[in-house]
């Protein structure tokens, strides 16, 4: 099955019906393994047990940017290739991305209080992620504000691509500015600075959360396709009602004019 085949919403629905149970099962298995490894990971010599927050904070922080990246590719699909499912993919991803970003901010704040002595600091990394969260909310509001999905899709695609400028700012904020946040320790030039006892559970949790996103995204896309079918059938129903009432009015007027004559 090619990408062109998936452009057909009916084929996408058939694929999602086949794939979703497997994706959900793989997500549950990996999350269970990841949570077990997180629970049994040793305490850090400086941070103690609070290092366990890292196993949910970091995957959510990665996904907050990854989901916007997925939405940016989908936006290109909408604006350049006019792929029929591109705006469906972008719209379905926004609430999921917003949730991951919210969790990254919340768990980061809960990790920061015992380690930095504060829940929040207006430094570059935290502020740029907060802006990302607000952009997700703005995008969701835009989708709701414009009734016609195809018009909303083009406006949302432009906003998404403009917002993508924030992704490198978030990634490199810890290098470009002085910040409380630690520099990159996993995705960096050279080897990771994390010990294997932390790195393995972190990677398992990252893959598990990514699978969770793929599963939820596919399910949300399926729902969005069904929502659009509902909308088009409702419009068809409304136009039939309008047509029949017009015909009814027309025939009454015709009868009335015949009666007068």
């Amino acid at each position: 099955m090619t990408l062109t085949d998936l452009a057909n919403p009916t084929r996408f629905l058939a694929l999602s019906a086949r794939v979703l149970p497997w994706l959900a099962a793989a997500t549950v298995i990996l999350l269970t393994i990841g949570l077990y490894q997180s629970a049994t990971a040793p305490d850090d010599y400086q941070q103690g047990a609070t290092v366990k927050i890292m196993f949910i904070h970091v995957p959510n922080a990665w996904l907050s940017m990854f989901v916007w990246g997925v939405m940016s590719v989908a936006s290109l699909g909408t604006l350049v290739w006019r792929h029929p499912l591109a705006d469906v993919a972008a719209k379905a991803a926004a609430p999921i991305g917003a949730s991951f970003t919210f969790l990254a901010l919340l768990t980061g704040s809960l990790w920061g209080r015992p380690m930095w002595g504060t829940y929040w600091e207006w430094d570059a990394r935290l502020t740029s992620v907060l802006i990302l969260f607000l952009m997700y909310l703005g995008l969701m509001a835009l989708w709701r504000a414009v009734e016609d999905p195809s018009r909303a899709a083009r406006a949302a695609a432009v906003l998404t691509l403009v917002g993508a400028i924030n992704l490198p700012i978030i990634k490199f904020s810890v290098d470009w500015w002085n910040t409380l946040h630690q520099p990159a320790s996993v995705m960096r030039m050279g080897a990771s600075t994390l010990d294997k006892s932390f790195l393995i559970p972190l990677l398992v949790m990252a893959v598990a959360f990514t699978l969770l996103f793929v599963t939820l995204h596919m399910a949300a896309m399926r729902n969005e396709i069904l929502r659009r079918r509902v909308r088009s059938l409702q419009m068809m129903q409304a136009s039939r009602v309008a047509f029949s009432s017009e015909v009814g009015t027309g025939s009454r007027e015709e009868n009335a004019s015949k009666g007068v004559a």
Binding site: A49, T50, I56, I96, W111, R227, R229, V230
Partner: protein
């Protein structure tokens, strides 16, 4: 096996609980939305509105 989370246990437990709640809300939203859309499509089909192709809007091939 009892987990020893030290003096900051409340921060760790709150983080994991928040993640569990948000993920549960996402899963619930997806499931409820799916059922709601299917029900709306069934109602429309019952009222005689069908797709131009004539195929059911609810069932996937």
């Amino acid at each position: 096996m009892m987990l020893s989370l030290g003096p900051y246990a409340s921060f760790i437990v709150t983080s994991y609980a928040a993640a569990a709640i948000v993920v549960a809300i996402l899963i619930g939203w997806v499931i409820i939305d799916y059922r709601s859309q299917r029900e709306r499509l069934r109602e429309l089909e019952r009222s005689g509105v069908t797709r131009r192709s004539g195929r059911s809007a609810v069932d996937t091939p």
